[in-house]
Symmetry: C3
Subunit: 257 residues, 3 copies
């Protein structure tokens, strides 16, 4: 049985995530289930895209990923199952599917084809996405999930790309993590080792290899675990130290230039 | 092996939930484990009853549910295993077992019958409920769990029922969820489609089908995922917008009347 | 397959814990995975040691425990796999391994021996510890993990031990839990049943058997679930009531003395 990974904005206060696990276990007994996370802010498609993109390379080869951040639940937005290499992605079509590249086929989830009860209008994660993910995990043929549509018709991913400038790259802070690290959209591989980051007039950070190389309270620049450059404070919070937030601008330039 | 679902008020800061999973895996290796949730407020039996009632219809058919919100741990309150249809419910007898209907047999958990060490006086979830749930998951005969008692002797569920009035139904807010939705104890199926909710003098909400039908910042009424009517704000928090809290009164009346 | 238990300070806001589960499932398909907890404060080795020590006796016999609180990630600190009885412990060598007693062998994790890609410098949990834990769970011989070193060379555990005084024992508060209970480092078995705790000039608590024996708002002393004496308020928070914090001093003396 293919494992199923879950990403939602449902949080941990309610029974919502538990019900998803219950439906998956009911529909695919014994399926390995992985919580990618449920701490995305309510309705935050950007944040979910970022987490999905970072986690993607590390998932089991044949994983079924169910990512449900769905402010449009019950409206006309489509629910889709996307094949990406050997993995499947089951999502509302609101940009999530475009967070990773390489989609080869897309099907619109159809509760009638899956012989499901008519879904509620407020909890498609339970009534539509989880049953679809369970069928994919069990190896049910894609045809029974719903009709195929064009890959090119998927909604685009909202994540901004870095912008080249005369002196380097202009990026933005994409994610503030649990440790207060400020993760940008610029990859370490896109820059020189001598790159510096200017994150406010006159405030610049030097690049280091890991957190432990920073001086106390120094805001340093390093390549984080997903390959993106991030601002960090060793044993502290760069978010607290700098006051920077998601969406704020960071300018990267070659320190030797 | 029957899957085991867990509901507690233990939160996520400590090792308490992890220890329950460890005991279940130790006592029933390979058993599928489902976290229904651990975000119930400390000692909040009402909240746990509500979450249990909402999740119940979606659980695997033969699920063993262990729900431990147990302010009376170590006192004279009984610990019980309740058979409800094809499922089992392992709980302190403080109202939790009565959150769902259809109990057919009740046994008092007996550590001597189960050949357990004498439980601590402060963590029966680990020392009594989890070993009992593991035995039920493995298919151990109920006789070995403890002696049978009358179903009618179970403590009643504290959840209030709606009260009929001359103009409709008077309900209360039962749960404020992660999204700020205000879930009442009135079922959509108990009301007309034209029902309106008055939640404060002069403040009334119209019924819609799903969140996306609301105007910006409008407090609307809709049937939520468990069948209960709820007040909601699309892409916002009805709790923040209205200031309403659990226990507050909402009056439902037929808008066409 | 041996089950794997996880303890980290990664929290629940990001995808970090989810990626660990993904790697474990990828490297050891179907392995039972247990979240011991991810709520340890960032970089808090003391707190992690305490939670590990409390959970340890309840883990499955052959459990592989991966505990990663790793402020020194990417620096010269060693990453080790420790055999403790029939269990294995995979940790950075920063005191975590010494939180439990009985280590018999220690190996330094070596990514080359395990034929892994060179780890990132910021996420060894994903790139080094999880692959090592998966190998141990699958039963790979320890030799392939890395070279053996002396048990005595492990960093010491930072948890303080109680200090005997002329009138009894002086302890400290080791942990403030989700319920506001103040757990000390003094075991119930080290004291007389008539012991009292003085936690501030003139403020003394009597010993009871369980929470329900306390009077309303009374701060009582009882033996908690890990065997340590704790200050507690029934249906309330001893932390809020007393203002005490981790590291604060509590003096235990025989009440009959």
């Amino acid at each position: 049985m293919r494992p199923i990974a879950l990403l939602t904005d449902f949080g941990h206060a309610d029974h919502y995530v538990g019900v998803l696990h219950a439906v998956l276990e009911r529909e695919a007994p014994g399926v390995p289930r992985i919580d990618l996370g449920h701490g995305v802010e309510p309705g935050d498609i950007w944040g979910a895209c970022f987490q999905l993109r970072c986690a993607w390379p590390h998932l089991p080869t044949e994983c079924v990923v169910m990512a449900v951040i769905d402010p449009g639940v019950g409206t006309e937005r489509r629910a889709v199952a996307v094949t990406v290499g050997t993995r499947s992605l089951v999502v509302p079509d609101n940009g999530l599917a475009s967070a990773v590249s390489g989609a080869t086929t897309v099907r619109v989830l159809d509760w009638r084809s899956m012989e499901l009860e008519e879904p509620s209008r407020t909890f498609h994660a339970r009534d539509l996405f989880a049953p679809a993910a369970a069928r994919l995990a069990r190896g049910v043929d894609g045809l029974d999930i719903g009709n195929e549509i064009e890959v090119a018709s998927l909604q685009p991913c909202p994540l901004p790309e870095p912008v080249p400038t005369s002196s380097g790259l202009e990026g933005v802070i994409m994610h503030v993590d649990h440790f207060g690290n400020l993760v940008t959209n610029v990859r370490g591989s896109e820059t020189e080792p001598s790159v510096t980051a200017t994150w406010r007039a006159g405030r610049t950070s030097r690049r280091v290899g890991t957190y432990g190389e920073a001086k106390p309270e120094e805001v340093v620049l390093l390549e984080g675990s997903a390959g993106f450059l991030e601002l960090a404070v060793n044993c502290g919070s760069a978010a607290d130290t700098t006051g920077l937030q998601r969406g704020d601008r960071v300018v990267f330039s070659d320190g030797e230039g």
